[in-house]
Symmetry: C2
Subunit: 156 residues, 2 copies
DNA sequence: CTCATCTCAGCAAGACTGAGATGT
DNA sequence: CACATCTCAGTCTTGCTGAGATGA
């Protein structure tokens, strides 16, 4: 789905506006993040491990919304880059416990910066008040009852 | 990308909120539209033909933001359902001119109804004023300078 | 011959499914 | 045994790419 000279019937649909806006933001984010060889999934995984501590792969799957099959490959990549380590759980050896390394923590901080920059780039047509309002509306739309972690903190 | 118990780092990103909102709206739209055997592309094509009149496939590709290769298959499907006809352009026989049929026009009207219903469903957490505000912000975000076809007309 | 248009085959990324291996 | 976790192979969808056919 692209921008283009779409018919007015489409332009009038909120769902279309959301799709276009999301695609635009996604391009900015992908561009920023992929320049460092990472992806959205990488960031989501590192962020989850930073916030919740070591996780098994099933839990990681829940946090990042990625299928369990694909978490296998994701962790392969992260482990190959030494950003995480994958060890068998001594208490239940069916499980692999994924743990953030120091290097992974550094990479996360780096990605935070890239992401923050991508956000301001993607939203540069809106002023600060409008960005706050947009975040508020989207949060309500998604069913957030209250402030889920200082919206605006990453908006420059 | 799904909802889930995502880390706060993700929840704070406007791009993530947009992606989630768009995915949610897309589910509602896909569900509504696919029940009648159609898709977003079908609707976009029918809407373009209704607004701009008969188009060749390259022009159609521009209007609906779909790759030219894929327009071939899309027009195949629409023609098989008798919603459009594909005729060689008598003035330039390299071109196929795609024209909306009466049946296609009826289908478009039917899809309009389904889409309008899906919009209200997707946005039901927002009241009327908030929906108008959201549409305004998204339009600005996408670079719309002014009112592109009465936003709100399909919002119930 | 060069160029535009359409058609087709195939690739690549993402999300998913099903079966098997390992361990409880 | 049933069950959970991880792994692997393969499918499906979407967007794209490249080559060929037709015709200007």
């Amino acid at each position: 789905v692209e921008f283009e000279h779409a018919p007015n019937r489409l332009r009038a649909l909120p769902s279309w506006l959301l799709a276009q806006s999301a695609a635009q933001a996604n391009r900015a984010v992908s561009k920023a993040v992929s320049e460092s060889g990472a992806s959205r999934s990488h960031y989501a995984a590192l962020a989850s491990l930073e916030e919740f501590g070591p996780l098994n792969q099933a839990a990681l799957s829940d946090h990042i919304g990625l299928d369990r099959s694909d978490v296998v490959r994701l962790v392969d990549e992260l482990a190959a880059a030494k950003l995480v380590v994958r060890d068998p759980d001594p208490g239940d050896r069916r499980r692999n416990i994924v743990t953030l390394t120091t290097r992974g923590r550094q990479r996360l901080a780096q990605l935070d910066d890239l992401l923050a920059q991508a956000q301001t780039e993607a939203l540069d047509r809106l002023d600060r008040a409008e960005r706050v309002e947009l975040v508020k509306l989207l949060s309500r739309l998604l069913g957030a009852s209250s402030d889920p972690g200082r919206p605006g903190a990453n908006m420059g």
